[in-house]
Amino acid sequence: MILTPQVSGAAGVNADAGAGVGAAVTDPLLVTEAVTRRYGYRRVFADVTFSLRRGEVLALLGPNGAGKTTLLRVLAGLLRPSGGSVTRNGTVGLVAHNSMAYDALTARENLAFAAKLWGIVDAARVEELLDRLGLVRWQDQRVATFSRGMTQRLAIARALIHQPDILLLDEPFHSLDDPGVADVVRLLGELVSEGRGRGRGRAIVLVTHQLERLVQLATSVGYLVHGTLVGPEPMDDRSVETIAARYRGLLNRA
């Protein structure tokens, strides 16, 4: 059973209506309480509890197979938690390992299709994202001809099409070249702070192994190790070495 996103007020069908209608500005956009996920008898993670407000970026660190992707799918409502609860007070955008794009369609057609499903009638939104993600030159090329980096840009554009309140990013810098990474870091920074004063900033959960990017963007960091979420801990010290040392220490703890 797919979870129906628990959106306060109207579900974000309109591109501008996804700002957690009904929720106060300071209310958390995303709340997890003791979330557990199992596949059969195998427990992936247990008792994951945190909350995320507008303008906050939670970075998730963990080794391969720790369950970071599974946790993001649970947060997005694509997977049902085996225990606990997830509350989303806004619309969700997800950048996953897969692009969710149709290879036989062009970049523009993929975005237009996503826009239609979100009920966005404003064609300018597609143009804006093509421009913002640097895809204008390739907008009429089929995705099958795209490099991985271009596909990743399209995946990010698709996730942003409905101006989500909560953005879940699974390795968003994967396959991007240096200018691409810089573009995405800048874009994410803008998304977090965009309209923050008017209560429209976004909450982001960021899974990445690139610590340099993590310290640039994150406001807190959680370590998903041994099936448990340690943290989120505030980013008091924005030093890669400190984060790396803390992470290594947790990994080596039996």
Binding site: I2, L78, L79, R80, V92, N98, A101, Y102, A114, R158
Partner: protein, 226 residues
């Protein structure tokens, strides 16, 4: 309702565009249909069996198995790059996704049938004069029944490791009732039997349509569970 139909239409257009550009399923289904019709025709002994005796069976074997090619493709397309997740993240009703995929499949199978019928007429020397409306009704009703259940089972089978093998295994038992009804009706229509002989089978096909469509729409969401 307008939004619902808009989503259904968007999915149909998207599937048709993808199929138009790739043509993988359509070409496979058409080639398969030509092969089956011709093999069954040439395999019979013309001195012992008239072409009209095997025509209804040949037609429905062709339609059924050619349709499976398209049904298999329907959700495999959504698994490429996990595109289905992109749809599930949106607030669109799950039933709209199913109805969109099913409508796309109906169009696909309809086109394959459209191409197969002239070949059927040619090979089996069947005259459709005066029988076309009835044959169209049978074809439409039986197609709706097996496409409804086929789309649902395709959504289930695509999650298994051997999706293309699983669909026929799962689908064939469900196809027996509507296809038997369709064969019976086709043979009676081609033999110019009176309308009173047809009504019972038509009612049966209508019942299958209603049951299969309602059940498929109700059960679709369960196929999305991981």
């Amino acid at each position: 309702m307008r939004d619902y139909l808009g989503v259904v239409w968007a999915i149909v257009v998207k599937d048709a565009t993808v199929e138009w550009r790739t043509k993988t399923a359509f070409m496979s289904a058409v080639v398969f249909a030509i092969l089956v019709l011709s093999i069954l025709y040439f395999a019979r002994d013309p001195t012992a069996v008239s072409s009209m005796d095997i025509a209804p069976g040949a037609l429905w074997v062709t339609f059924t198995f050619a349709a499976m090619v398209g049904l298999n493709r329907a959700f495999l397309l959504e698994r490429e790059n996990q595109a289905i997740d992109g749809m599930l993240l949106t607030p669109v009703p799950r039933t709209a996704i199913f109805v969109g995929k099913m409508t796309g499949n109906l169009l696909f199978v309809g086109f394959v049938e459209l191409i197969s019928v002239p070949l059927f007429v040619l090979f089996y020397n069947v005259s459709l004069a005066g029988r076309l409306p009835q044959l169209l009704a049978v074809t439409a009703m039986a197609t709706v029944a097996f496409v409804a259940v086929g789309t649902l089972l395709s959504a289930m089978a695509v999650r298994t490791r051997f999706a293309e093998l699983m669909l026929p295994i799962l689908l064939l038992p469900f196809l027996i009732p509507p296809v038997v009804g369709a064969v019976q009706l086709t043979s009676r229509i081609l033999a110019a039997r009176p309308a009173s002989e047809l009504m019972g089978w038509f009612k049966l096909l209508a019942a299958f349509d209603i049951v299969f469509c309602v059940l498929a729409i109700l059960l679709y969401e369960a196929t999305l569970d991981e």
